[in-house]
Homo-oligomer: 444 residues x 2
């Protein structure tokens, strides 16, 4: 009998690797933050003496969900700018508020709220883009949350950095601070390329290649972005990025709603990845990422929620459902993305896109024990003829019962372990009151 820290036994285990595996009456053993084994429950009970035994007889265990693109602190602006297209949403509604209010305290509070929502919803890792990324990193580390913090690069001055060089320097310093950290990874997170000049893009590209870190940025998020790039640089964004040397597996093209067949060819040829954010794209009327076509061309596709100011939540389970419905409905091809594809996109593909595919994203011995457990025995998701379909099309993120990050149970029995949720909700309400008072439009 071998001691382990935790043994969690469930009706179903979906390890995601090998693809599409559904294991009945299996267990996951964890020790020192890592997965030790995935095996039949009977064998597990005969092999391991767990410090903690968790029995989940009507539940599915799956890898923790990966939110491959968000702006966590935007939770504080949830519902603040409704019914607008991307350009007016950003320029007229969001930017003025962010310029006035975003500071380390704001980022801390908004990010904590986001992590609370995500840990409750089975998300164990998120990729973030936000000024003051060092605050995001600290908030995640304190909440025992896995994050890939975006090293933000923008052209214009902000309260965080004066020019592209300072953005990059601060990003590099942050990367150094967390080198080797168990929870905090980094990637470059650029504003849309039309706003960035060639030298800045070239410098980011050189650094990314040297350091081998992903470069995420909006790519063809909307027709507006494409038009801006054509007007300013005489080239569509992806063409320009290719010309500047970004055509590599490190490129993470976020959104991708306006992709021509040639664009898809280009993404496929260089091994780039796409992050599909269906709910935000739909809500802003930006268009629909051709996720099924990309997948069929071998392009890696992960899922993101984008920020809560355009979504309006950070619910990756719901994002899977929307992506599946959209792929079937828009192409009139039911099963264009099957539930299995969606589960892989929301877990392993997300991890891979962020460069974390070797250490998380699937339930494989040796990987970090990042997983969640979902109760399927509810009136809205029972009976279970097909567990993958149940998870994608009939479950709510509110059916997540337990979330583990690196072997620690961050959410269980309805409570978060590392976040004082009452305090976070109070601080969020204080921000809302302050912002609505200053900018009008309060509910009061």
């Amino acid at each position: 009998m071998e001691p382990v820290d935790t043994l969690v036994c469930a009706r179903w285990v979906l390890p995601v690797e090998p693809d599409g595996t559904v294991l009945a009456d299996h267990a996951v053993a964890m020790r020192d933050g890592r997965i030790v084994a995935v095996l039949p429950t009977a064998a597990a009970l005969a092999s391991y003496t767990p410090a903690e035994l968790v029995e989940r007889p009507h539940h599915a265990i799956l890898p923790g969900l990966v939110n491959a693109h968000t702006h966590a602190a935007m939770t504080l602006l949830r519902g603040r700018a409704e019914n607008l297209a991307l350009a007016p949403w950003l320029q007229d509604a969001i930017a003025p508020i962010e310029r006035r209010w975003v500071d380390p305290e704001y980022v801390r509070d908004g990010t904590e709220l986001a992590i609370a929502e995500m840990q409750r919803g089975g998300v164990t890792c998120f990729a973030d883009m936000q000024l003051w990324p060092e605050v995001v990193a600290r908030a995640a580390a304190d909440a025992h949350m896995r994050v890939s913090v975006g090293l933000v690069v923008e052209q214009a001055a902000s309260r965080w950095a004066a020019d592209p060089n300072e953005y990059i320097e601060k990003g590099m310093a942050l990367r150094d601070d967390y080198r080797g950290d168990a929870l905090v990874a980094t990637h470059f997170a650029l504003e849309p390329s039309h706003a960035l000049d060639d030298p800045t893009l070239a410098r980011v590209r050189r650094l990314a290649d040297e350091l081998e870190i992903p470069v995420a940025l909006p790519v063809h998020e909307s027709a507006w972005e494409v038009a801006e790039s054509l007007a300013r640089h005489g080239a569509r964004p992806l063409d320009r990025l290719v010309r500047l040397g970004f055509a590599s597996p490190l490129l993470v093209a976020v959104h991708g709603t306006c992709l021509s067949p040639a664009d898809i060819d280009a993404l496929a040829a260089c091994g780039a990845a796409v992050v599909h954010c269906p709910e935000s794209n739909l809500k802003l009327g930006s268009g629909v990422c051709p996720a099924a076509d990309l997948l069929s061309r071998g392009v890696r596709v992960a899922l993101g929620t984008d920020g809560a100011a355009s979504n309006n939540d950070l619910d990756v389970l719901s994002e899977m459902r929307t992506a599946g419905l959209l792929a079937a409905g828009v192409s009139a091809r039911p099963g264009a993305l099957v539930a299995r594809d969606l589960l892989r996109m929301a877990t392993l593909e997300g991890a891979r896109v962020l460069g974390l595919g070797d250490s998380t994203g699937s339930l494989v011995p040796g990987k970090w024990a990042d997983l969640c457990c979902i109760n399927l025995r509810t009136a809205g998701s029972w009976p279970v003829h097909d567990v993958e379909a149940a998870l994608v099309y009939a479950c709510s993120s509110r059916q997540v019962t337990d979330t583990w990050v690196a072997g620690r149970r961050v959410f269980a029995a309805g409570s978060l372990r590392y976040i004082d949720e009452e305090s976070v909700l109070e601080r969020a309400e204080a921000w809302r009151a302050r912002i609505d008072a200053a900018h009008g439009g309060s509910q009061d």
Copy 2:
């Protein structure tokens, strides 16, 4: 001080009538199953002595949601037939199972499961289409659920009725049994018109006009339905229905994914209603109902989930979100349907479509006290800059805390009052095991 049965006080009350009203710190008083008043909490506490006082300080009260089209008993087939288009889904996957298994016991168990899910999700009324509608009526009455039971008319014999005359006779008998019932209403529920001959349609039309009851049927659910009607009757379904005299406010055109401008004109001209079932339509790849266009032409539009075998849940809150995202995304018009429209479609418009608009669907004194209460103070829906947007885009149906039907609290504190949920879930699992064993494809 006036005695009332229940006074529920909340942070926000959205009565839906007048349209778009958001009342802060208001209360709803109920007596004898009816709404007595909607007024500021302070005034309510000074005016009424409630037998039961319910305080919901971070919650929104809204009219109970109306699921304007479902097949409740299909919950037993949730996830049983994935990734198929409408015709093969129905003909090859669902029909063989239903022909073998559907009987009064099946309908009872499946309907109870559906009502459990709906009452938990704030739904207080549903329109159903299912053989053995008398079993549906009984299940709803027993669960203290409002229903408009579909008086099913099909051309072919089934285990329930031998020919159209028997369908109609049994339907009329059922209608008589529940005449004047506080909870059970009826409407005609026809199979797609291409399957029905002219005399049957003519007879239904005469009866519906005489009795003034709505006639619901799929209308242009998919290109397949349109093609079938053209092949069999030489006319598109809506054209044929118009020719046969169905062009009236009693017509409830369900689905409506393939509507030409002329079809929309025809629906608008006669005052017909449309039930938009976005998730089921998307999942089956049937197309997208032009809900925003219909609304702008003055056509009444309600929301339905369709059955759980094609959705895969009966979550009207989620259906609102999908309808909103879809309207914005597909037309590239953010706000094509605003949250206020969606809330009205999911409540008052649903009631009106079913002929129940005078007695339910909004929080107006004298109407039945059909309402639900939703907790907005959760990490995923807080802070609330815009309560309508929060309800549609950031809330889960699992945030419903209380549901009242005709003044009785059918769901509270996580439990259903009139349904033995444990027993329902067990019976559902027994059906699943039986069906999967007979037809293959079990999870075991």
